[in-house]
Symmetry: C2
Subunit: 401 residues, 2 copies
């Protein structure tokens, strides 16, 4: 990319973030009466529901704290992060310290799930709050959330399996992707260990990080099949049937840039090569040659994908792919990644942003038309769009000056 192109892109990503997306969430999402964030936002930002998904509380805290820490010390951003954190601490944990999946507007418990992904986003939220404020308690809470997630993952029998493990033992990419993201985040905060929680052994962050990367590369990444699998047997061998053939290109490419962050911090060219390979496979498998954009699920044997939404175009894989391709291009100079970034950029900005009401649509049909005009829901909140814009802006700024 020449400098003029870099500067134009930098301005576009910066403006999309600071003039459109962040103001949209500041305007529509903060619940000044009951605390926390609304996320069930219709096209124009009006509410179609007031329940509060806990993942998205943690994610929005992360956003505002990160903007305060890394972009500008705007008091309204810190206040917005604190509004979410107070609600999270007051209402999103049960008596045992496990986090809910969803609560009501007032913070009454709606749904507890068998797994612990709410803790992942609470960990990221606390880590960002620590970076924003330097408060030691936030650092300790980030480490504790990490320890709780790790304990859950590593204590046999704690996470009830959907499929009978005596018949078909399986493991998924998602929890490892979360561990990767959390451990790199904690390492960057200077946190080197996670405490013992409920009898679990304490853990060294860098060791968890290395083990997680090794497990992903050994068991899920399959260069010979040109894919990254979502689900494998515990030893990394193939699982019989459709579940064992699912690839989620968005997940895979998200893993790629998480690894690149570790590669940057620790100077690890081997991880850059792995991330490049993962990104290539994700894009080759995921890109829809007919309509453009990234498919949501792909069957790696070319059989039909069985998820009803398999061929929809969702916002977040596009954000993840933009980050990964730009990061790879900047770290390696790889021309193919530059072409992918431009292709993704063009499709993404042509289809997702809502010029009339701001922010982005989240759910498009395969052909790129809008399936539902919501700007937020139980899964889409103030996270992937602004995170993607922020990361790309900062990379472009570094390159363009």
């Amino acid at each position: 990319m020449n400098l003029a192109r870099l500067a134009r892109l930098r301005d576009q990503y910066r403006s999309a973030l600071l003039d459109d997306v962040v103001p949209f969430w500041l305007r529509h999402s903060l619940d000044h009466e009951q605390g926390g964030y609304f996320t069930l936002l219709d096209r124009d930002g009006s509410l179609y529901g007031t329940d509060k998904p806990v993942w998205l509380q943690g994610r929005e805290i992360w956003l505002f704290a990160t903007l305060y820490a890394d972009v500008e010390k705007r008091p309204e951003w810190l206040a917005a992060a604190e509004l979410g954190l107070r609600f999270l601490e007051a209402h999103c944990f049960d008596e045992s310290g496990k986090m809910y999946f969803a609560v009501t507007r007032e913070g009454r418990p709606l749904r507890m799930r068998r797994y612990v992904f709410s803790e992942v986003f609470a960990c990221l939220a606390y880590a960002a709050m620590y970076r924003a404020t330097g408060t030691g308690r936030y650092r300790d809470r980030a480490a504790e959330m990490f320890a709780r997630f790790l304990r859950f993952l590593r204590t046999p029998g704690l996470a009830a399996a959907k499929v009978d493990p005596r018949t078909r033992p399986m493991k998924g990419l998602s929890p490892l992707m979360c561990l990767l993201n959390m451990s790199e985040t904690l390492a960057r905060c200077g946190i080197d260990s996670a405490p013992s929680v409920l009898g679990s052994p304490p853990a060294k962050i860098e060791t968890v990080l290395e083990d997680t990367i090794a497990e992903i590369l050994r068991d899920f990444v399959k260069p010979q099949q040109n894919c990254v699998l979502e689900t494998v047997a515990p030893d990394g061998s193939a699982v019989d049937g459709p579940d064992g053939r699912v690839m989620n290109p968005g997940h895979a490419i998200e893993c790629a840039w998480f690894m690149l962050e570790t590669a940057q911090r620790r100077g690890r060219p081997d991880l850059v090569a792995s991330a490049l390979s993962i990104a290539r496979m994700s894009l080759e498998r995921g890109w829809d040659a007919t309509y453009g954009g990234l498919l949501y699920f792909v069957d790696v044997a070319g059989k039909p994908a069985t998820q009803l939404e398999h061929d929809m175009k969702l916002w977040w894989p596009h954000n993840e792919a933009l980050i990964a391709t730009l990061m790879l291009h900047q770290m390696t100079g790889d021309a193919e990644m530059e072409r992918w970034f431009e292709k993704l950029h063009e499709w993404t900005f042509a289809h997702f942003p809502d010029a009339q009401h701001g922010e982005w649509y989240g759910y498009l049909h395969r052909n790129g038309s809008v399936s539902t005009p919501i700007k937020g829901g139980m899964w889409k909140g103030a996270f992937h769009v602004p995170r993607g814009l922020l990361y790309c802006w900062k990379m472009l700024e570094k390159a363009a000056g």
Copy 2:
């Protein structure tokens, strides 16, 4: 409809059932080695997986036993039903008698779910086997499956709620729809009571049937809002938020024709009027004015539906709507229902059947294009398509002679 039109439709439905759909399942679905039915069938009937969903085992037994009982005493149909029943009895129940949701090809347990819908289709399967063969044990097993379902539904705390009932108590239409269908089916088999199971009280079938119809009409059917809700509070009042505004037009119209069967058997004009009202609301709410076909989920307040598949066109609501509109037209002479039948018929036969490989696609995009070419999966099996064709054929035959 004039006689020529009736006769033409009769022949079309008969031929679709007996020359296309039933042969497709006979050819591709029977597992002559391990027993039971394959349902993970690709476009051409080849397998993309061998797991066996238990709902679909029961449903396919129902189909072949019903064909044998009501259409013709073809030995291959009875043999096909028995192949499924042997597998069901050998592999689909755990030690406590609760049914699995899915098992492997060999019948090893894959997935147990918190609810008991597998029992619904086992009940229908046993009832059809009783009608096909007159075997008393099948009659008793049908009654026992019914009793197990009823016990599950009526024993507080047995069915773990997804949403905390202390915060937001809710009840769904689905279990009542199943009770309605099962109790009418048992009544038609001359079964008048269900036994005590695991300490539950025995139940009179007709009483359960009447109570179920009354509860649906009182709590879920909302003529003033022109809708049938999927989820309401236990007293029938509205549930706050998107969950409380969901209508599934296919479910609602399925309830309508189940009620019409009771109306026919018992001579109940009040139920005909209710079913007519439900069908009208389902079609007005569900019909897609832009592309035609029935939407999968609708928000009754006109807010965005949040299910990713909300605007897809699935096969089964169309089958249910064809049955309901034709039945209503024949029972009442209602001209509006005739027009709806013709409209549904045209759209359905223009979009779902696969002229090249037989049977029907199940999952279309909103615009009617094919999303996935599978003929069967974990949810689509030998049930709604052939049941719809059979019911319509028989009604058309009765009218046309």
